[in-house]
Symmetry: C2
Subunit: 236 residues, 2 copies
């Protein structure tokens, strides 16, 4: 197949936190796949990419349902794959955008897996993760020396979460949005609430940083919050 499929990480939300490599590649892209979901994250990714695109770059809206085992959803993904394969056969350079990093909790991984069964040229460009951006904004070191850092989706199984909190020096809780009081109680029981920050909408105009998560346990955090926590003080 003559074309190339690019997975491009555009960073956590601040348009300046895209890499030179991603910005340069976007200039050569023929078609950008824009998921048609009403999902805010997707329109943010396109907003970040747009200043780097040529005027004649095509924006192709496709529907990507949440990944699931049902036949209906699989067929939507299969159809999208066919559309992408047909563009690649025409020799097009096709980009799939990802907020943050493409290899971390991204829809791109599913598309990569579908395309891997075909002979497709693929290239993935890494992006700044939301937790690295949050750590820099909050002045909160993620890990040093021999620290173990565990990245945990707040949506994961509670037993698994509890075990992971027990063995980690430092943790990042991603996708914090519901059950915050319960989460913070669990972190308190593992000695992880004293040295912690919660960063919401990092890099966006309405960003907020809470330096005492014990006090925010009654607050319902907004979408896109990340909690960074350590067993030992930051010393700052």
């Amino acid at each position: 197949m003559k074309g190339t499929f690019y997975g491009i990480g555009v960073g956590p939300g601040d348009p300046e936190l895209i890499t030179l490599k991603a910005a340069n590649l976007l200039k050569d892209i023929d078609v950008v796949i824009a998921p048609r979901t009403g999902n805010k994250a997707n329109s943010t990714a396109l907003h970040i990419a747009r200043p780097h695109l040529r005027h004649d770059t095509e924006i192709l809206e496709l529907t990507f349902p949440m990944v699931d085992d049902s036949d209906e959803l699989n067929s939507a993904w299969e159809n999208n794959k066919k559309t992408i394969l047909s563009l690649l056969k025409q020799g097009k350079r096709v980009a799939f955008l990802t907020l943050g990093d493409p290899m971390l909790y991204s829809t791109y991984i599913y598309m990569l897996r579908l395309l891997a069964k075909h002979r497709v040229n693929m290239q993935t460009i890494p992006g700044i993760t939301s937790f690295c951006a949050a750590a820099s904004r909050a002045g909160f070191p993620l890990a040093e020396g021999d620290d173990i850092l565990t990245i945990i989706p707040a949506t994961c199984d509670r037993d698994k979460l509890s075990q992971a909190l027990a063995v980690s020096d430092n943790v990042v809780l991603m996708k914090v949005s519901r059950n915050t009081p319960e989460l913070i109680k669990l972190m308190q029981s593992k000695g992880l609430s004293e040295h912690a920050v919660m960063v919401s909408k990092c890099g966006h105009p309405d960003e907020s940083i809470h330096y005492n998560i014990n006090e925010v346990s009654d607050l319902k955090p907004v979408y896109l919050s990340t909690i960074l926590a350590r067993k030992h003080p930051t010393g700052m």
Copy 2:
């Protein structure tokens, strides 16, 4: 204090994997602190930053011994802090460069801690981590859905490492350079060697990727290797 101290992540090694924000900031920097250690990582960071610096930007070489509790080393760090504070008092914009991300296993964290005790304007710019770059290069998804991802320095205590491997879906082993056969034996015992890759010198001209770590257990890996591993197949 009138000046500002910047911690700037320059990414994993590929000069194009610096962010627009870092590249733009470097244009306004008066003094770049370059650790005088003979450490390859430091000269790589300066090499990545240099094309973005002004011709009149000062490169100030300072000696930063490995962090330790001894008085001699502490006094070297204290002297460096005094030098930096004096530049900041003159209103200078001073940059400290970090390969990868400044808040992850970086010397910058120690300098930040020393300066935090003074009233210094500080700004940290996140960088692409070595493990995100390695995952993109190898086409190896780091985490998806509710996966827990654990970042482990290969130099850490073996009991701690063993516990962390047991509770993780996916792991990143950083700073792999010694004891590879022993490490891989441990990963085999935790079901983490079947779906794994080892990436050495990611983004450098002499980069190498091993897709079967069971076969590389006798190899002595070069400096700057990262192992990415999952309990479940990548499906690629």
